[in-house]
């Protein structure tokens, strides 16, 4: 029997774990940003630019964007399979959503590269 280990096929357990693992990363990033906005007296361009210029923050930001992509793929699939019954339409919407989610990551990569 051929198992799906090496393929991109997902299963329920994998989706379950991925949703929660990415959620923890995104929540941590959200809390960090919230803390930054609350505790920084005045946010100027220099302060804002400096925040994302360090390697740690670049890694954390990109990690969050990749988490967003995986979270979107699973979450939007769950919502779409419940509400959009036509297979062709659903495939098209899912393709578009996954494309946008991937674009989010690419934008983040190039922006972080240049900061």
């Amino acid at each position: 029997m051929v198992t799906g280990q090496a393929s991109l096929k997902r299963n329920g357990v994998q989706d379950y774990v991925t949703t929660r693992a990415t959620a923890i990363i995104m929540t941590a990033f959200s809390l960090l940003m919230g803390w930054f906005f609350i505790t920084t007296p005045e946010i100027t361009y220099t302060v804002w630019n400096d925040l994302f210029s360090g390697l740690t923050m670049k890694v954390f930001t990109l990690l969050t964007l990749v988490s967003i992509m995986f979270h979107i793929r699973i979450g939007m699939w769950q919502v779409l399979t419940d509400y959009v019954k036509a297979p062709g339409l659903r495939a098209f919407i899912q393709f578009s959503i996954n494309l946008v989610a991937f674009v989010y990551v690419i934008i983040g990569l190039f922006v972080l590269w240049s900061v």
Binding site: R20, A23, S30, N49, F52, G75, V100, A101, I107, V111
Partner: protein, 124 residues
Amino acid sequence: MKKQRPVNLQLNTISFPPAAITSILHRITGVAMFFALMFVIWAWATSVSSEGGFIFVQQQMAGPLGKFVAIGTISALTYHILGGVRHMIMDMGYWEELKSGDISAKSIIAAWIALTILVGVILW
């Protein structure tokens, strides 16, 4: 047997328990976040790349539309995180009974409304 099953799925005639409302709100805020990210990532990419971009985003955020989008986005994110935390607590086996689930559902909705008002007052 089959005749006793509820066949009426007219949503406006069904009374939703708090847990059902938290569930649908989690979905709505999740989908909303996907679209809100377009504005968030645009604002972030523009503001962090150049000083001119930073000033432009700052001006947009100071206007009523910018404030509305910012408050809406933070509100959706706040709810989605609260709902997600509740989910993970339930994953660990707590709040799964009718009463505790009811209380936790009402609590996160109350916390969400309070936090949204707080953020709204600060940002507006």
